[in-house]
Amino acid sequence: MMANAPDIIPDVYVVADNILSPIGSTTVENLASLQTGVSGVKAQSRPAISNESFVASLFDDEQIKVIDKSYTRFESLLVSSITDALSGLGENFLNEKTGLIISSTKGNIDLLETEAHNDELNQRIALHTSAQIVADCFRIKAKPVVLSNACISGVMAILTGLRMIRSGQYDQVIVTGADVISKFVYSGFKSFQALSAEVCKPFDKDRAGLNLGEGAATVILSKNKLSDSDVKVSSGAISNDANHISGPSRTGHELGFAIKKALLDAGIASNDIGYISAHGTATNYNDEMEANAINFAGLQRVPLNSLKPYYGHTLGAAGLIESIIAIHAIKTGQIFSSLGYTESGVTQTVNVVTELTNTNITHALKTASGFGGCNAAMVFSK
């Protein structure tokens, strides 16, 4: 039966990537920061965002390159990130079979804080306006796709890109995402009492909420493997809790379902997964739900970390940044310490990595969950 299966379904590879964050403007720089335990999360004094100082991972102005004065901060981040990701791929890499997917939760919403409000501003804020600006910048003819699915946007954007290549619509897809932290976003998370006054501690007994973070990231997906070390995007799945718009499932079964479905679609079993990059926001509810889901899927012994103590929660960029780190974990076998973790604060077992670990990883799992009850799981493979 296997022999008869037509071999027309292309595998999809990650052929290039970029992480643009306060701790590095390339993936290499970011990996170097993580290796030495450097975090972007620190006390910030930003009167434009909050009158009080707060803990977050934010860009300094000079870290954001001005490419074109008409670009917003959000668009500059996307363009810089894509430019770096494409830099090693040659002049002719982009063609008419190239797609573009953009992931963000709030895009240009910070313009509300600096610009006069009118219909023109409404258009300027629209995510599809930014998407067209980015597409035009890289002369991409395809209609850009914008995915805005709360905090699973970045992971889901990769899944969407995977499907677009598998369906034959595109040969390569640029998947990019970013979010900036503004007064709008900060005040909202603060009103939820979701913010920690110190660097967040995912899965720890003393965890006290999340930190916000700024960042952008890009993966270039292709049906053609360009290097032997290129990692494959194997599968992904999405589910909804159908429980509460701002609180996660009590059982974790829905994220667990997405994980199990992703494993089934990848044709692997739970013990094939060598590393889990968790969502791990360090809120009480998220980490407990995620631990339940991981147990439900039989993954409780798999080494796991959350990168939120390094980056904060970068919203629409988080799934991309964290997937890129997982992709490089497969390449190098290196799993970074889940900073600040000392003792479990969730009721189910999870194997949190507390020191830089070298191992062999064939398959890695990335999970994410967000407001609206959405959950995502992706499998990347050697």
């Binding site: 296997m2 995915l147 709008f184 909804n240 809790d241 379902f257 967000g370 407001f371």
Partner: protein, 220 residues
């Protein structure tokens, strides 16, 4: 490596579904359009408002159809609009026919959650409200529909300059053809100020009375 039965099954299933050009037929089994002060169900106008504005109109739809869901009154306009359209769309839906994970949503709009973003932003000089902030994401309307109808399948929210029916059809085709979902609510739900439009379609693989074949043209 020892061949594991579930591994082989998973790969075979995936290959088969992905390779299969013979996609299962799909039908629009229900359609609900709410715009211009009217509700149109399966092509027939079933309610008209009295041009008293979006908030009053949405409430009058809720009352006219004698709906009872206290949480409705806490929702923002986008969620109210999408929730109402889904409620009417699903009047004859037999949810027992599906597992919760087999039903999902693929939605799009132009203005994301900007209608609520403006309202929330106006409030933050006073005391920022978590109950407003939670609606400053476009996919919350999908969450509200999933909670109401106990749908646990994939849900996606796309932002587009205008309703791209071909794109939405492509997304839904993939989800149903690859058996990721067996039924999907898809379409457009957009609100900004007094302007609003919902066009929702229920797509299933079973043919029902008055069902039309699922195609982008049927959503225009």
């Amino acid at each position: 490596m020892r061949s594991k039965p579930h591994r082989v099954l998973g790969v075979v299933m995936q290959q088969w579904f992905l390779a299969s050009n013979m996609s299962a037929p799909k039908y629009i089994t229900s359609a609900c359009i709410i715009s211009n002060d009217t509700v149109t169900l399966n092509g027939e106008q079933s309610f008209a408002g009295d041009n008293s504005g979006v908030d009053s109109f949405l409430l009058s739809v809720y009352q006219h159809f004698q709906l009872s869901y206290p949480k409705f009154h806490k929702m923002d306009r986008l969620s109210k609009l999408g929730w109402l359209a889904a409620e009417l769309l699903l009047q004859n839906f037999d949810s027992a026919y599906y597992q919760p994970e087999q039903v999902g949503t693929v939605l799009a709009n132009a203005n994301s959650s900007l209608d609520m973003d403006l309202k929330y932003y106006d409030s933050i000089s006073d005391v920022p409200s978590p109950s407003l902030f939670v609606y400053t994401l476009p996919n919350i309307v999908a969450g509200e529909i999933c909670i109401r109808h106990h749908f646990k399948g994939e849900n996606a929210f796309f932002v587009q300059p205008k309703f791209d029916a071909e794109f939405i059809q492509g997304q839904v085709d993939q989800l149903l053809d690859q058996n990721i979902l067996q039924a999907c609510i898809c379409g457009w739900v957009d609100v900004l100020g007094q302007a609003y439009e919902a066009k929702l379609y229920l797509v299933e693989k079973i043919k029902k009375d008055n069902a039309v074949e699922f195609a982008a043209d049927q959503m225009k």
